[in-house]
Structures are given as C-alpha cells and as structure tokens.
C-alpha cells in the first residue's frame, strides 16, 4: 500500500441513530462515535427527507454538543438590571434551588395577578404547562415565522402545509422562495432534480439574485412587496383567457366564479405599474404556468414576501393559481402533506377550563390565528406594547424558550418590555443575549444527548418517522425542556394536569400504534416507513367549509375579513429620498436564525452577517465594499457592513437574519454583525387590526430604511 493516511485510526468505533434538531426538517443521521467521542454525523440514504445528505449546519451539530461556551448548570442573575450582554454576575445553583425559586416567583405572580400574568414566549412547547397553571398566554414564535402559511393553507386546503413535488414538476414558479440559498436539505435536492433531471422550467421573482434565482431560467427583479399584484394579474390572465382546468375546477374548487369576478380588476397593466414587471412578462408566465404541465409555486416561511401585510393574501392567491390550473394533489404540483401520526399522551386529570380567555397578545381579536385560548399561532409582535401598557392586565413572569433577542422584531422595544417584568426564566443552550437578561437560566440538553421520535411534518412527501437515541451521555448538568416543565408543575402542585409518562415509557407510547417499541425501532434502522406509493387523495372531503378547495371563504367574511385574495395599495411603500431603500431579509446557508453562530465550523465560514447592496447605487452614495453603514428605520437603528453586488435592485438592500449577538459569553458569536430585527416593526394590536390581516399581519418584513455611511 503506497498510501499513508494523515489520520490516526481510532480503535473503538460505534454508530448510533440520530435525528437532527437544528432545523424543522429533522433529517435522520448516523452518529459516528470514536473512543466515546462523537466525531461525525452521516446522513442515512434510507431517509426520504435527507436522502443521505446533511447540510452544513447538520454536519456541524457536534460543535454545539462540545461547545465550551454552552450553559452547564442552572444559574441565577445577581445584578438587578437586565441589559443584554452585560455581566449578570451569575451564581451557580442546583436544579432543586432553581426550580424552587422559579416556582416561587410563578406562585407569587399567580396569587397576586392571576395565572394569566405568567406567559410562555418562544417555541410552541409551553401549552401543557400553561394549561396546568391556567394561563392562556402561549406566545409562540410562529407569527414571525410560518403563521401566514399555516392559516392561508388551512383556509384553502384544510391543512397546515403543502408539499411542492419538485421532482415531477415541469414548471417551478417562485416568489422570493430561496431554500437553495438557505441550504434546506430536502427542498434543495428536490428542486435541483426537478430542474436538471426533469427539465422543469424555473422562474424566480425576487428583488435580489438569490441562489434559487441564480439557478433559475428566468430571474425577474420585482419591486419588493408587490408579488401579490403579479399573482392576482396572472389569475386574471388565466381566467380571462380561459386557460384554467375546467374539469378540475368544476369538481374540486369552491368559489371560482367569485374569484373570477374579483380578479377582473387586477389587469397585467395594473400589476406592471406597481411591480416593475412588464405586462408582457406577466401574461407570458401566466400562459406558461397554465399550459397544462405539472406546475408548482412553493411557499416556505419567514420570507420577506410572505411575512408582511398582504402575505396571507399572497399565499391564498398562489394556492388559487395552482388550484384553478389543476395542480393541487397532482404529481409535480402541490401535494397534501403525508404525515405519520404519533400518540400524544394525555394528562392523568383533565385540567380545568382556562378562566381568562383574553390573551395578552390580543390574539382573541384574531379568531383565525387564535381559535382557542391556547391554540393557534398568536401575535408575537404585539406583546411588547401590551406588557409596557399593562393591557389588558399586567404580565409578571415570562418563561422564554428557544427564542433569541435577535428574532424579536423591534428589539429595543422588546428589551424595554422584558425589563418591566418581575421575573424571567430562560431555558436555553447558550449564554446568549437572552440568557444575560434572564433572572434564572435553566440549561437545556443538546439534541445529540437526548432521544427523539420525529414525524417530520415539514415537507412531508411520505409518512416517515425518524427515531434517534442519545449519542453520548449528557456532558453537563442539563435537562430536557419537558422535564423542566414537569418539575416546575410538580413544585407548583399541578403535575396531575401534565402528561405523566416520561422516558422510555413515553417513547414506547408514542410509537404504540405501529406495534413497535422504541428499542425495536432503533434496531430496525431508526426509520419507520408508511405507504410509499402515491395515491391521490380525495379533494371533495377536505377540512374546508365546502370540503373542496376553498377560494372564497365565508368564514373569513363572517370574521370581517376579505373572503377572497385581494390587494390594497395602502400596503405599498416607496423609498423617496436618495438614501432610502427597500429592505428584504434572507438567511445564509450556514446559519439557522440566531442559533448556530457559536458553532466553530460554521462561524469560521461565516463569522459576520452583512448587508447586500447594489454596487452602482452604492457608488452614487460614496459607499465602498466592506464599509460600515448605519440603517435607520421608523422602528430602530442598526450598524452593519455592506457587501456590494450587482445581483440586487438598486433601490433595495438585503440584510442577513440572525446576527447581532452581543453576549460576551459566546466567544465566537459576539459582535457578529447587524441585527435585522432591530429595525423591524413590532406593531401594537391596533395597527394589526387596521392592516386587516386575519393572521394579525404577522411580522412585517416590508419597510423602508435610510442608509448612511459611518
């Protein structure tokens, strides 16, 4: 053998089944453990989501596990003020002390101000705990994320999501959709296969030449915030030229005539004036899309086009376009999700009805987004105002889980609101800005230290469950969020209202309907397949008002909203002064929101976020590549470095999301660039109501900034 490898051969190598929790795709992998240390994560070819690959973030997962900066034990803040990034003079405490303290603070708030004064902010895992203590305030992150998609798809198709069947598509039309640039594993592979192997035509509308746009046959640099106008005009063309699928519409679509009437006024010429897209182009693409070939418009989440006033209508209009061309539940079009169900354990005793129905986020005013006290996606962005004004009642304790300050729109307002609270409990992996503001920090275990069963709800093309085991023993004195909630409930004496099953018994219970135990599932390779054959579902028994695809919604009309997709020119913004720009946001392929910035391999590739700007326009303003600029919007101010490119509209800048960490305890991520949330609006509920968006206008990613060189 002439080859002498530059690597020491490990003696003891083991592989274990895992499920990636970096993003919601939950790709399955095998973890390679050398001499007790996890060294490599490898995708499983049997996994239909990852198809054996893992993205940069997934590959770097072990960085999070072995990150020396991780939270290692519970800690209490010993200085009174809450300033992000400032030394909280942490004191190490035991779990017992921590839970006692947290429960005491919660008890104090409940006794004096009622259970509604305790709120949960962040990932949607607080429901059972809130129900147990009787608070309606489950403030999920979803209204900054996927709420628009969930409710628009729910109204139209009766499900929370649809799956773009890229591989079999012949026409892929994207509005600001850039999952290739974000490195979304399963979506990227499908899209590339559709384009390269199935010769699908790809058309991308985006103010910036995104990675997806760079792979498209056609990139159309549309004016930011006007995609909806273009889709409505395309509906106009398809209907007025009778290019829709008459048979499909007659059988499966409800409200077509009303839609046809509504879109008459949205002519290509009208849309062209608004969007800068030539009317000919709109007509041509509408004709191509409706030529009869399998065609799809993908929608994801937290995209600037969708998370804004009118975003709800945009998703509905896109669904309408696929519906009238017969591309719903058709190969190469939009498929209903195929999710494998899991058993969810119930509590021993049914918790009493929640007395206070009114939510602190004003969610009850948006019955679509918040159908029940604890249900729904909430209105994250109206919370800071309500806390500051103590409306409708004072909030005293917040449990913050999986939410970073970098994801809180109008960050300064949020900081003020958080400073007003009596007590903040933060369940976190990292000592980030949020942790430095909390009175009590409870360290969460990393996903590589815990067991998982994931039904993979996002992009569910096939019902397939992934099962994973802990890769190694817990490195530090950390706990899983479910256990933390249970301990808190127990200390408060309400644990009978929480599901009692824990550990392996819970894992086995969740899989019981498949006649398999957790251990057996692991022995079988950690992947449980449902039916792989594509059998089209019946489109006359959907969970919509008519059972069919619902274009005209009487439910929305009853709630006082527009029953059809519509356009309001009041939603449009226009930069006027020489230094004013539209803003769009995007995410890099190597980072997931604000969660991965201290992972060393990812940090090395992208240590700092930046602002994309058109180089010709920048030259006019005397801005050079790499210059620091100050961005000022009506909502805040932030500094960042510019990266000059030609692939963006001269009137638009693009900020990468998730950066702007200040905490000195994250040695790599500290001072990593501009925080886009700082300059984004967090509207009070009155503004949300005025915007006439049934999801509460969600987070508004559409705004104007002034750019000044500093």
């Amino acid at each position: 053998n002439t080859r002498t490898p530059l690597r020491a051969d490990a003696t003891d190598i083991k592989y274990k089944h895992g499920v990636c929790e970096i993003c919601e795709m939950n790709c399955a992998f095998l973890g390679k453990i050398e001499n007790g240390r996890l060294v490599k994560l490898e995708g499983k070819p049997k996994d239909q989501h990852s198809r054996g690959s893992l993205c940069a973030k997934g590959n770097a997962g072990i960085n999070m596990l072995y990150d020396p900066d991780r939270l290692k034990y519970p800690m209490m803040k010993t200085v009174p003020d809450r300033i992000p990034g400032q030394d909280p003079k942490w004191k190490k405490v035991s779990w017992e002390e921590a839970i006692n303290q947290a429960a005491e603070e919660i008890r104090k708030a409940i006794d004096k101000y009622g259970p509604q004064s305790v709120i949960w902010i962040g990932h949607n895992k607080g429901n059972d705990f809130l129900r147990a203590i009787g608070s309606p305030n489950n403030i999920t992150h979803m209204s900054t994320c996927n709420a628009v998609r969930i409710w628009a798809t729910n109204v139209t198709l009766g499900v929370a999501n649809y799956v773009p069947d890229f591989e079999n598509s012949k026409y892929i039309l994207c509005f600001g959709w850039d999952q290739l640039g974000k490195g979304k594993n399963s979506l990227a592979r499908g899209m590339i296969e559709g384009k390269v192997n199935n010769n699908a035509k790809v058309v991308v509308f985006d103010p910036r030449l995104s990675t997806t746009a760079s792979k498209a046959h056609e990139w159309i640099p549309i004016r930011p915030g006007t995609d909806l106008a273009v889709v409505l005009a395309m509906l106009n063309v398809i209907i007025s030229e009778e290019r829709y699928n008459k048979e499909f519409v007659a059988k499966y679509v409800d409200g077509f005539e009303k839609l046809a009437e509504e879109v008459k006024k949205y002519t290509p010429e009208w849309a062209s004036r608004i969007s800068d897209v030539p009317a000919d182009t709109i007509i041509r693409i509408a004709r191509e899309f409706s030529s009869g070939c399998p065609a799809v418009i993908p929608i994801h989440k937290r995209e600037a086009i969708q998370v804004r006033p009118g975003g709800f209508e945009l998703v509905r209009a896109c669904l309408a376009m696929m519906a009238i061309t017969g591309n719903i539940e058709r190969r190469g079009g939009a498929l209903l999700p195929r999710i494998a169900p899991l058993n969810n354990p119930a509590p021993k005793v049914k918790p009493p009805e929640i007395e206070v129905k009114e939510r602190v986020d004003g969610g009850h005013l948006f019955p679509l987004a918040v159908p029940a006290p604890l249900g729904g996606t909430g209105l994250y962005q109206s919370v800071p105002d309500m806390i500051l004004k103590e409306e409708p009642y004072p909030v005293k304790v917040a449990i913050i889980y999986g939410q970073s300050l970098q994801s809180m729109p109008q960050t300064d307002k949020w900081i003020k609101a958080l400073q007003k609270l009596d007590y903040i409990i933060n369940i976190n992996i990292y000592p980030d800005d949020m942790a430095t503001m909390a009175d009590l920090v409870l360290p969460e275990s990393v996903y590589l230290e815990t067991a998982h069963i994931s039904p993979r709800i996002t992009n569910a093309r096939y019902p397939q469950i992934a099962v994973g085991e802990p890769m190694i023993d817990k490195l530090y004195d950390t706990k899983e969020v479910d256990e933390i909630k249970y301990l808190l409930a127990k200390k408060l004496g309400v644990e009978q209202y929480m599901p009692a099953l824990r550990g392996k018994a819970l894992l086995n219970y969740r899989l019981r309907r498949y006649g398999i135990t957790y251990d057996e599932a692991l022995k079988k390779g950690g992947i449980l397949n449902g039916s792989q054959k594509f059998e089209p579902r019946d489109l006359t028994s959907l969970r919509t008002e008519s059972g069919k695809i619902q274009l005209y919604s009487s439910r929305l009309e009853e709630m006082g909203y527009h029953p059809l997709p519509w356009f309001d020119e009041k939603w449009l913004l226009h930069p006027e002064a020489k230094d004013e720009f539209y803003v769009v946001t995007s995410r890099p392929a190597v980072h997931r929101h604000a969660k991965t910035h201290n992972m060393k391999w990812l940090h090395a590739i992208m240590p700092e976020g930046f602002i994309y700007m058109n180089s010709t326009r920048a030259a006019e303003l005397g801005i050079k590549d790499g210059d620091m600029v100050e961005l000022t919007s009506r909502y805040g101010r932030e500094k960042g470095r510019v990266k000059l490119i030609q692939g963006i509209r001269p009137d638009t800048i693009c900020i990468l999301h998730g950066f702007g960490q200040k905490s000195p305890y994250l040695k790599l991520a500290q001072n990593n660039g501009p925080n886009d949330s700082q300059i984004m609006p967090a509207y009070p509920k009155e503004t949300n109501i005025a915007l006439k968006d049934p999801v509460g206008a969600s987070l508004d990613c559409h705004f104007i900034v002034k750019v000044r060189k500093v």
């Binding site: 002439t2 080859r3 002498t4 490898p5 530059l6 690597r7 060294v39 490599k40 994560l41 490898e42 995708g43 198809r51 054996g52 690959s53 893992l54 993205c55 940069a56 997934g58 590959n59 770097a60 072990i62 290739l180 640039g181 490195g183 979304k184 594993n185 990227a188 592979r189 590339i192 296969e193 390269v196 030449l209 990675t211 760079s214 792979k215 990139w219 640099p221 392929a589 190597v590 060393k600 391999w601 990812l602 090395a604 590739i605 058109n614 010709t616 490119i645 030609q646 692939g647 963006i648 509209r649 001269p650």
Partner: protein, 185 residues
C-alpha cells in the same frame, strides 16, 4: 481487472454553494479549524439586471501531471496507483514548496498535525476503498458531486462525463482527475 482511476465531477448547475461539503470534509478528515480541504468560491458576473452568479466547489484536482509532485524535493507528494495525488508524512519535511506550486491553491499547511505538514483532499480514498462515498459527496444537499472509477466505462461518473464535463484550467496542462460540468446560463 483493470487498474482503477478514481475521479470526481462537480456539476456547477447543481451546486448551490451551501458549504455542506466543506463542513462534512472537516468532520471526516479532522481538518484544522479555519482551514479547508474543500471550499466554496462564489462568482458573480454582469451588470444589473443582466447578472448571473454561480458557486464552485474548490478542492484538489488530483492532476495526472501535478506541479506539486514535481516541486516536492523528497517525493513525499506522489501519485498513487489509483490515480490520486497524496502526501507521505514520513517523507515530508514541511518545506511548503507544494503549497506554492499548486496552481489551484488547494493545499493547506496544517500547524497541529505532525508539526506542520501540507494536506489536501485525498478524494476520501479510505472511504472509496470500503465501497463508501467521499464525505463531500454524501453530504451534498443538491446531489452535485459524483465520485467513481474513470477507467470503468459503466460507472456513473462516466455517464456524467458524457454530459459535458471539462477540466479546470486546461491551459495549465495538469490533466486533472477532477472535472466540472460548467455553469450554463
């Protein structure tokens, strides 16, 4: 059986520049922090609105006429019997001539391992020998990479060759075993 000639093709029409290959390579080959055996290079050309951009996975091309092998004073850099270029650490004196000689600038000097020796992509031959795929190919989220035996006319890599794979910088006359399918607008 005919001798193997390992090669690789990267399809730039598929590459999305997500860096999965870079990170997978670091994990598999325990590459030093901040250094890359394979990395992503971004290209943007044109003037708005007629702009195009593409990304390119950039790593050792395993040249059949390799300037790094020519430059090595101790024959540590050598051709293997399966067509790749590798370094024998026991012969290497760490002079760094190969790093300078490589026209593709893909060799890196590590500081930790063996007291400062050059390293680079090995095509993950240690995995290929076991019938596995290199770390970069396994991880590629776009399916843009294929590795295989160029001497086997039935191999998948030779089907990709027929799709218009070309050498990088043929003017350098290095005759690489790693090819690209160029980005088509």
């Amino acid at each position: 059986m005919a001798k193997k000639r390992w090669g690789k093709i990267v399809d730039l029409n598929k590459c999305v520049g997500c860096h999965a290959c870079s990170v997978a390579c670091i994990a598999e080959n325990k590459v030093e922090e901040g250094k890359y055996r394979t990395k992503i290079i971004e290209h943007e050309e044109g003037v708005f609105p007629n702009v195009y951009k593409y990304t390119e996975k950039w790593s050792c091309n395993h040249c059949q006429h390799a300037p790094c092998v020519d430059a090595c004073p101790t024959k540590a850099s050598h051709y293997t019997e399966w067509g790749t270029v590798e370094v024998k650490p026991e012969l290497c004196i760490g002079c760094g001539y190969c790093v300078l000689a490589c026209p593709y600038r893909v060799r890196i000097m590590n500081e930790r391992k063996h007291g400062g020796l050059p390293e680079k992509c090995t095509l993950c031959v240690h995995l290929l020998e076991k019938g596995k795929k290199p770390a970069c190919e396994t991880s590629c989220i776009a399916g843009a990479i294929i590795t295989g035996d160029l001497n086997d006319p039935h191999s998948e890599i030779n089907q990709w060759m027929a799709k218009g794979a070309v050498e990088r910088r043929p003017d350098l006359m290095t005759h690489p075993n790693v090819f690209i399918i160029p980005y088509r607008r």
